[in-house]
């Protein structure tokens, strides 16, 4: 029939389980999910700082709470997520930053290596400081 609209398009999408479809999607899903754990960890540290200014019994009660098995598991999972987030984020930097010298993009390694190097140095300094405080 003249003028009749024959198309009845059917929309097909990846669906809400898109992250189960391939390993690369799952890795991104875990990378983004890690932010939730890291955010909770930041809140816990802020509360810890607040409790440090409270009476000793309050502070000790909070430490006891942090040492309960559930919180220990949470922190182990959190550190795994933090490492995953850091590792994947550092490796994405060459795609994000395009630095050119004499018209040529610098190799990705020159962007990635300093970040891992800086991470190692800062981690080393923190471990040394904790050791120094503990020894003193």
């Amino acid at each position: 029939m003249d003028g009749e609209v024959l198309t009845q398009p059917t929309f097909r999408s990846l669906g809400w389980t898109w992250w189960t479809r391939r390993p690369s999607y799952l890795l991104v899903f875990l990378r983004e999910t890690s932010s939730v754990f890291i955010a909770v960890q930041v809140v816990l540290v802020l509360v810890l700082l607040h409790k440090a200014g409270q009476p000793a019994a309050d502070y000790q009660a909070y430490l006891d709470f942090l040492w309960n098995p559930g919180m220990v598991v949470f922190h182990v999972v959190s550190i795994a997520f933090a490492l995953l987030h850091t590792y994947t984020w550092f490796n994405l930097m060459p795609q994000t930053v395009a630095i050119r010298i004499r018209g040529r993009r610098i190799p990705g390694l020159l962007l990635v290596a300093p970040q891992f190097g800086g991470w190692a140095v800062v981690t080393g300094l923190i471990i040394a400081w904790v050791w120094w405080v503990g020894a003193g």
């Binding site: 024959l6 198309t7 009845q8 398009p9 059917t10 929309f11 097909r12 999408s13 990846l14 669906g15 809400w16 898109w18 992250w19 479809r21 391939r22 690369s24 999607y25 991104v28 983004e32 994405l92 795609q95 994000t96 930053v97 395009a98 050119r100 004499r102 018209g103 040529r104």
Partner: protein, 252 residues
């Protein structure tokens, strides 16, 4: 007469006609040829088994970008997907996801075309002299190299089919269009950064991208749309703070 037994490969092809309530999969047996790609198999089906099968194709050599489809769940140019990679089969061929299906493997490109046009992917001159063919705009090889990768896009739309954000937000401008916007923003002959600014920086622009990166992984031309979008984010963030902290440096 040959007595050799021919190897057959089973194809499960997505079928949908506008007057059908539901799509279905139709199974075809196609002879295996070492040098055949999925597009050759589709042509074999159309020529010898079922002439009603509908799909787009043109150049057969990864240039025109019209033969994209989901091959065993992955967005591929069917002219570049060798049957040998999918043996022993079956090989499932479906239209690119994240697009409306018009018929069989043919998707509706109207929404993409509107998004593409919205980023004005052409050279804009402040003096409006783009149609003055007598003008020369010189460019050094290094200036050309700054955007060359992003100019290789053939609009095959595999990147949209790989993008979970496109899947959940029909308004998202998407990888190819944003990469092309970045391509023109980086072109030293172009003066249209301000004109593209609002479209690129709006909620459905670069900031909706969560850097899944699969668009770059499936791109047959190594355009790296994910990289283009992240670089545009970096430029957008610097521009935001420059406007905030040093407004006198911004052209009105």
């Amino acid at each position: 007469m040959s007595t050799a037994i021919e190897t057959m490969v089973k194809f499960e092809v997505f079928r949908y006609q506008p007057d059908w309530d539901e799509p279905t999969y139709q199974v075809y047996d196609v002879p295996y040829r070492e040098d055949w790609v999925v597009l050759d198999a589709l042509n074999y089906i159309k020529d010898t088994i079922d002439g009603s099968l509908t799909y787009r194709w043109s150049c057969r050599m990864g240039v025109c970008g019209s033969c994209g489809a989901m091959v065993n769940g992955y967005p591929k140019l069917t002219c570049a997907a060798f049957l040998s990679e999918y043996l022993p089969g079956p090989i499932r061929v479906e239209p690119l996801v994240n697009f409306n299906v018009e018929r069989d493997l043919v998707t509706d490109l109207e929404g993409f075309m509107e998004k593409l046009e919205s980023v004005q992917p052409w050279i804009i001159r402040e003096d409006g002299a783009t149609d003055d063919l007598k003008s020369e705009y010189l460019q050094t090889p290094s200036q050309h190299a700054a955007y060359q990768q992003f100019s290789m896009c053939i609009n095959c739309l595999l990147c949209y089919a790989a993008c979970p954000v496109s899947s959940h937000s029909e308004e998202f401008i998407g990888p190819a269009a944003l990469a092309l916007a970045q391509r023109y923003n980086l072109d030293t002959r172009d003066e249209g950064v301000e004109q593209r600014r609002d479209v690129i920086l709006k909620d459905e622009g670069i900031w909706e991208c969560s850097f899944v990166g699969e668009c770059s992984a499936v791109c047959p031309k190594h355009v790296d749309p994910a990289g283009a979008i992240q670089q545009a984010k970096m430029t957008g963030a610097i521009d935001y703070y420059r406007r905030l902290l040093m407004p006198w440096t911004v052209k009105s």
